[in-house]
């Protein structure tokens, strides 16, 4: 349900209750696509977790210029932080694609299929999980 349909319905609507109902369906379709429904709240949580990793990565970039002058213990701590982010990402990403795959198999949802293909990068992450950790 797109904006144009809503605009047309608003113009042609004769009953206000119908208009409210139509707007609710419009809002619901957006909510579904944004993974705001309770039944896919876990997906949303995983996505948020991965998105927040960019902030942690940024803090590592902030420290990186002075990396050469840091002590051994600090370097180990930084590397441990890096490994932790990578592990978190791989686990979250794997769980995300697995859950998405299960949902898509149970019910045909084109938008989630689309998201799965995009995020799984043509099954790259299925076969190459933890690749960064090994390096």
């Amino acid at each position: 349900m797109a904006w144009n349909e809503l605009a047309d319905e608003i113009k042609s609507a004769k009953d206000f209750d119908y208009l409210i109902d139509f707007h609710q369906r419009y809002l619901s379709s957006i909510r579904d696509k944004c993974l705001l429904n309770k039944n896919v709240s876990r997906l949303r949580l995983l996505i948020t977790r991965i998105l927040d990793m960019s902030m942690v990565l940024k803090s590592l970039y902030d420290i990186a210029p002075s990396y050469a002058s840091l002590g051994v213990a600090t370097k180990e701590k930084l590397n441990a932080n890096y490994e932790k982010i990578v592990d978190d990402f791989n686990q979250s990403h794997k769980l995300l694609t697995t859950v998405l795959h299960q949902i898509v198999q149970q019910k045909r949802l084109p938008h989630l299929e689309d998201l799965l293909v995009k995020l799984n990068y043509n099954n790259y992450y299925n076969y190459n999980a933890f690749a960064l950790t090994k390096k």
């Binding site: 993974l35 960019s54 050469a68």
Partner: protein, 247 residues
């Protein structure tokens, strides 16, 4: 009573009024002009606000959901608010702007709540407080994606500024990368390895965020972008009527 108030202004049909209000609950010609001024002003500053607004969410589509609630870092004296919906960031160098933008975006996401928008008539009939909360949740999600993308994009520039494009400038020990690995000290090699690992992770994260953003832009954005487009046509077609109603 409702019907009487609707029929008072024949020049603006009730349905059009709802459309206009849906596009921007606080719409008036002056506010639209003000938004344009804000965009022009902010375009000179590398802040998250500009980056958020310029891609698939224009300031017009964002404005209803952050109206009068544009976050300001309270302890930062370089922030000014004008009329409650403008943020000016002045006299800051690039690094400060980037760091400030992280705080602004974080604060923005936190402060987008159900109470941030007051819907005026007649949109308040169509949009319940729960609906506004839903819109805010959607916008919050989109803001979060845009913030992550902005941070990851800026990391490349921070990296380049720090290391230089061809030369690796380190305060502790200056060394030319072009000399090759064998000419580097172990500490410098460690640092290069660390940067390499960070760049790998950055690439992985940016792939995820870019794809997620593309998903939202194609699956959700097509439902939200027309709000902005419709705003222009509504404003140009019904400007006089809207101004009259606004009085």
């Amino acid at each position: 009573m409702l019907q009487e108030s609707i029929n008072e202004d024949k020049s603006v049909p009730f349905t059009d009024l709802i459309l206009i209000q849906l596009v921007n609950p606080t719409l008036s010609q002056s506010s639209v002009n003000k938004t344009r001024v804000n965009q022009t002003h902010l375009s000179g500053n590398a802040t998250i606000d500009v980056n958020v607004n310029q891609t698939f969410m224009s300031s017009q589509s964002v404005a209803p959901f952050v109206h009068n609630d544009v976050p300001v870092t309270p302890n930062h004296r370089d922030h000014d608010t004008m009329d409650g919906d403008e943020v000016f960031i002045k006299n800051l160098n690039d690094t400060d702007k980037i760091r400030l933008s992280y705080r602004v975006s974080s604060s923005m996401i936190r402060r987008i709540g159900a109470n941030s928008v007051q819907v005026s008539f007649p949109l308040d009939i169509l949009l319940s407080p729960d609906d506004i909360a839903e819109y805010n949740n959607i916008m919050s999600f989109i803001f979060r994606i845009k913030r992550s993308k902005f941070v990851l994009d800026q990391l490349l520039f921070i990296h380049k500024e720090t290391t230089g494009l061809t030369e690796l400038k380190v305060k502790s020990a200056s060394v030319n990368v072009t000399k090759g690995k064998n000419d580097m000290t172990p500490a410098q090699r460690d640092m290069k390895t660390f940067y390499h690992k960070l760049n790998l992770l950055r690439g992985t994260l940016i792939h995820f965020v870019n794809n997620l953003q593309h998903y939202v832009a194609t699956r959700v954005g097509d439902r939200l972008i027309p709000i902005t487009k419709h705003l222009t046509s509504c404003v140009s077609g019904r400007r006089n009527g809207v101004e009259r109603v606004g009085r």
